[in-house]
Amino acid sequence: MIANQAVLNQNDKIASWVSSAKLGDLDAFEKLYLTFHKKIFLLAKRMTGTTSDAEDVVQETFVKAWQKLTSFRAESQFYTWLRSIATRVMIDRLRIKNAKIWQQALDYDEVLSAINSDMAQVKDLEKMIALLPIGARSIFIMHDIEGYKHVEIAEMTGVAVGTSKAQLFRARKLLRESLL
């Protein structure tokens, strides 16, 4: 009961900061940053694989969020909205590196033998995820960790739903094989 009350209070606070930030209150926006930047940072670190890239993503995400704040509707969660901005920023960055990153087929046997040997050394799932090929990794993070649907992933990345499913299947298989 007390926990629910705390969540409600937190949601009210977020709604209040969002309203103030929409009116140009930078202090209120700073409170939103302090509340959500760690989540966005971890998501970015998982997706990009490096701390420096993740920091760049966090910075770009919050600047874009400030610029687009007037388009935010109160019906959705602020974090969900913020996360969608961050995800699109990361997808754009990945696309710049390789436009066909999600279409690349995984040669399961070769990848498995190469990655399994590395994964066998680590028992931490976080580190296993980091060892996944980038296309499969980003779709695994978006679907299994962040909870995006394949349709949403396909819309954001520009790949077919079947491709998204195939990449997720291969990522999960790699991870399962490595689990003892």
């Binding site: 140009g24 930078l26 926006f29 700073e30 940053y33 302090l34 930047h37 760690k38 989540k39 940072f41 971890l42 670190k45 701390t51 920091e55 966090v58 910075q59 919050f62 600047v63 400030w66 610029q67 799932l125 976080e126 299994d144 960790i145 999960r172 991870l175 399962r176 094989e177 689990l179």
Partner: protein, 208 residues
């Protein structure tokens, strides 16, 4: 079946581990100052853009007046230019007319000159034919001059001189009054008569 059970076990294990993953991670660097700076600079840009837009709006209210003023100036300039153009056209028309009349006079003069030259050429040609015939006749007469009476010969020569001087006067008159075609006819007749006289003299001389 056993493999499937193993896979299912691993699947559950994987799902469980996914559920237990951390949801956030502490950052080593504080990014807020940098974010705040970017936001402030972008706000400055937005303010500048809005001020620019206001300036544009402020300016926009004067646009109809500016257009109207421009139109008035343009129409005035056009009218002034039109009048000037007309004046210049009139001047050119006058000059052109004068040039045309000058050309007509010049043309007439040239035409008269050409007629005069043609006439002189015609008279010269006539004179040349006459002289050739005269020389021929005179040579025949000279060949028989011993058989002709000296006094008669003298009379013939004096007569010929008079005819020649008369011819010269006629030629001069023709050149001065080229329109009078009777003079040409008269000159031609005179030449013909002289040649007739000389021809008769040759015949007379031959008969003697």
């Amino acid at each position: 079946m056993k493999d499937e059970l193993v896979d299912l076990a691993k699947e559950r294990e994987l799902n469980s581990r996914i559920q237990n993953l951390e949801s956030e991670e502490e950052m080593l660097n504080d990014l807020w100052p940098s974010i705040k700076q970017q936001i402030s600079s972008s706000q400055t840009n937005v303010i500048c853009q809005s001020q620019l837009a206001e300036t544009r709006n402020y300016t926009a209210s004067w646009i109809p007046w500016a257009i109207a003023a421009s139109l008035i100036v343009s129409i005035g300039s056009m009218t002034f230019s039109w009048n000037k153009l007309k004046q210049v056209e009139n001047i050119y028309a006058q000059i052109s007319q004068e040039q045309k009349s000058d050309l007509t006079v010049e043309g007439n003069l040239a035409s008269v000159k050409r007629e005069k030259e043609d006439l002189v050429r015609q008279v010269d040609l006539m004179e040349q034919e006459y002289k050739l015939a005269r020389v021929d006749l005179m040579s025949k007469i000279s060949m028989n001059a011993r058989q002709i009476d000296k006094a008669t010969l003298k009379d013939i020569r004096e007569t010929l001189k008079e005819i020649e001087s008369a011819n010269q006067l006629l030629k001069k008159a023709i050149i001065e009054t080229p329109d009078d075609h009777r003079l040409v006819t008269l000159l031609k007749t005179t030449y013909q008569q002289e040649l007739n006289v000389l021809t008769q003299l040759v015949k007379l001389d031959t008969s003697i």
